[in-house]
Amino acid sequence: MKDYVIKKLLLGVALIFCVSFLVFSMIYMMPGDPASIMAGQLSSRENLEAIRHEYGFDRPFLVQYFDWIRKILFERDFGISYKYRLPVWGLIKTRIPISLKLTVATLIIENLVAVPLGLICAYKKDSLIDRLAVGTSLVLTAVPSFWLAAILMLVFAVNLKLVPVAGFESWRNYILPIVTGVVSGLASTIRLTKSEAMDALREKYVITAYAKGLTKRGVLVKHVLRNSLIIIAVNLFLQLPWLISGYIIIENVFGIPGMGNLMVNSIVEQDFNVIQAIILIITTLTVVCNILSDIVLGILDPRIRIAVTGGDR
C-alpha cells in the first residue's frame, strides 16, 4: 500500500509540473508580447520597457518559469492583479473558502440523494421509481446549469420570495446555488450508482453469498453495496474538481464572490495573473483529488493495491 501511494503521489507531482508549465506558457501563446498583455494596450513604449524589465520578461524563458514557481511555492506570490492593483494571493485567499464550502456541501447533499436513489433503481429495476428517475435524469442532462439557476431564481426568489435574489451575507443566499449544483450533478451520479450496483447484482459471488445461506439483506449490504461502494467513493473525489468548475457558472448567476466569479471577470478584463493563479489552483486541486481517489480505490479494492505494487507495471 505504501509503494502504491508513493507511486501515485509521484505521478501527481509530475502532472502538476506539466500543467504549471502549460499555464505559465499561456502568456507566450497569446498574440502580442507579455509586457503589453500585462500592462494593457494603453501603455507607452517606455512604460512597456520598464514592465518588461521589472517582471523579468527579458530573461530566458526557463529562468522566468522557475522563478515564477519558486515565488508561488515559497512566498505565495502569484504576482499583482492589474485590475485591482493588489497581490493576487490576497484577492484569491478570501474566495477559496467560499467556493470550497459551496462545492463540498453540494457534493455531500448530492451523493446523499443520488446514491440511495441509484441503489433503489438498480434493485427495483423497471419499477415506477426507476422509470421516474431514469426519465428525469434523461431530461436533466439536457438542462444547462446556468438556465436551471435562472429558473430556480425566478421561481423561488422572485415569485415565491422564499429566498433572497442575490447577495452572500446569510446562509439563505446559499440555498439556491447549492440546489442548482445538486440537481445538475444528480443525473450522472444516479446513473453511475445504478450501473455499478446492477453490475454487482449480476456478479457470481452474489450467487455464492446466497448459496452460503446469507439473507437477502446480508447479501445486499455485505456484497452488493460493499462492492459498488468502491466506484461510488472514487467518484466522490473525482466529482469535486468538476463541481468547482461547474460553480464558475453558478457563482456567476447568483453573484457569489468565489473563485469562479473572479476567474470569469478576470478573463473579460484580461487580468492575466489572476487567471493564471486560479487555473493553477483548480488544476492542482484536481490532481490532488485524483490522487485521493486512487488512494481510496486502493484502500477499498485489494485487487488494485496488489496489481499496482506487485504487478508487472
Partner: protein, 282 residues
C-alpha cells in the same frame, strides 16, 4: 418479401422510438434555421426603443428584450448559431481526434505515447477550466469558443479511433494494401477509416449535446458569442438581469436550448442502439 434497404431503415426507425423522436426534434430545429428569414417576423437585431421589455403578446409572441427586440425572432435566428456550433464543433473535434487517433494507432511507439499524453492531460483538467484557459489565450468570440471546446474534447475521439486502428491494423487486408505499395496515408484513409465510420457516428452523436452545452455556456459567461448575436446562452445571461421585470427573457431561450440538446441526446441514444447493439446494455 421486398425488403429494400430504405424500407428496412424506416422500419428500424419506427421500432426505435428514441431515434425517431430525436430526429423529429433535431429536424424541426434544422428547418427553423433554414427558413429563419421566412418564419421570424422581425430581424434579430431590430431595436425598437418604444417597445422595451414587453410581455408576450399577439404582436411579440415571446415578448421583447431590453432593446425592444422581438424575442421569438431572436430565438429562431439563434438556431443558426446552435447548429453552427454543433457542425463546426463536431467537425473540429473529429479532425483533431481522428488524425491523432489514426497516427497513434497506426505508428504506435513514441509518437503514440507523446500524443496520448496530451489526450490524458485533457482528462486531468476539468473541461470548463481548460476551455476558459484556451479562450483567454485566443480571445473571446464564438469561433474561438468553438475552438476551445474542440481543443478540450477531441481526446474521446482519439481514443476510440486509436483503439480501432490498432485492432484493424493487423488484419490481412491491410497487409495486402501494404504489399501493393500503398502509402501509410492511403492505408489510413482508404483502408482503416471506412471501418471506423459507424463507431465514429455513434461517438459524434453522443458528444454533440455536450459540445453544444459547453459552447453555449461559454457564451453565457460572456467569453463566446458577443452581442447583438442571438446566442441562446448570451440571451439567458442577458435575461437574468431582468429576471423580475421580464422573466420571459431567460425562460424561452433556455427552453429552446433544452429542446435542442434533448433532441440530440435521444437521437444519439437511438443511433447508438441502431448502429452498435453491443453498447446497448443499460
Amino acid at each position: 418479401m421486398n425488403d429494400s434497404p430504405v424500407r428496412e431503415f424506416f422500419k428500424t426507425c419506427y421500432k426505435n422510438r428514441n431515434f425517431l423522436i430525436g430526429l423529429i426534434m433535431v429536424g424541426s430545429v434544422v428547418l427553423l434555421a433554414a427558413f429563419a428569414d421566412v418564419i421570424a417576423p422581425f430581424a434579430y437585431d431590430a431595436n425598437n426603443p418604444r417597445e422595451i421589455l414587453q410581455a408576450p403578446s399577439m404582436q411579440h409572441w415571446l415578448g421583447t428584450d431590453d432593446m425592444g427586440r422581438d424575442l421569438f425572432s431572436r430565438i429562431v435566428y439563434g438556431t443558426r448559431i446552435t447548429l453552427k456550433v454543433a457542425v463546426i464543433g463536431a467537425g473540429l473535434q473529429l479532425i483533431l481526434g481522428v488524425s491523432v487517433g489514426l497516427i497513434c494507432g497506426y505508428f504506435g511507439g513514441a509518437v503514440d505515447k507523446g500524443l496520448m499524453f496530451f489526450a490524458d492531460l485533457t482528462y486531468a483538467i476539468p473541461s470548463m477550466i481548460a476551455a476558459l484557459a484556451v479562450v483567454t489565450v485566443i480571445g473571446s468570440n464564438l469561433t474561438n469558443a468553438i475552438i476551445a471546446v474542440a481543443v478540450v474534447n477531441w481526446a474521446a475521439y482519439a481514443r476510440v479511433v486509436r483503439a480501432k486502428t490498432m485492432a484493424i491494423k493487423n488484419q490481412a487486408f491491410i497487409e495486402t494494401g501494404i504489399a501493393f505499395g500503398e502509402s501509410p496515408l492511403a492505408i489510413m484513409f482508404r483502408y482503416i477509416l471506412p471501418n471506423i465510420v459507424p463507431i465514429l457516428i455513434v461517438n459524434i452523436s453522443m458528444q454533440l449535446p455536450g459540445t453544444i452545452m459547453s459552447t453555449t455556456t461559454l457564451s453565457f459567461l460572456g467569453v463566446g458569442s458577443q452581442p447583438p448575436s442571438p446566442d441562446w446562452g448570451w440571451m439567458v445571461s442577458d435575461g437574468i438581469r431582468y429576471v423580475s421585470r421580464g422573466p420571459w427573457l431567460c425562460i424561452y431561450p433556455g427552453l429552446a436550448l433544452v429542446y435542442t440538446v434533448f433532441g440530440f441526446n435521444i437521437m444519439g441514444e437511438g443511433l447508438r442502439d441502431l448502429l452498435d447493439p453491443r453498447m446497448k446494455s443499460q
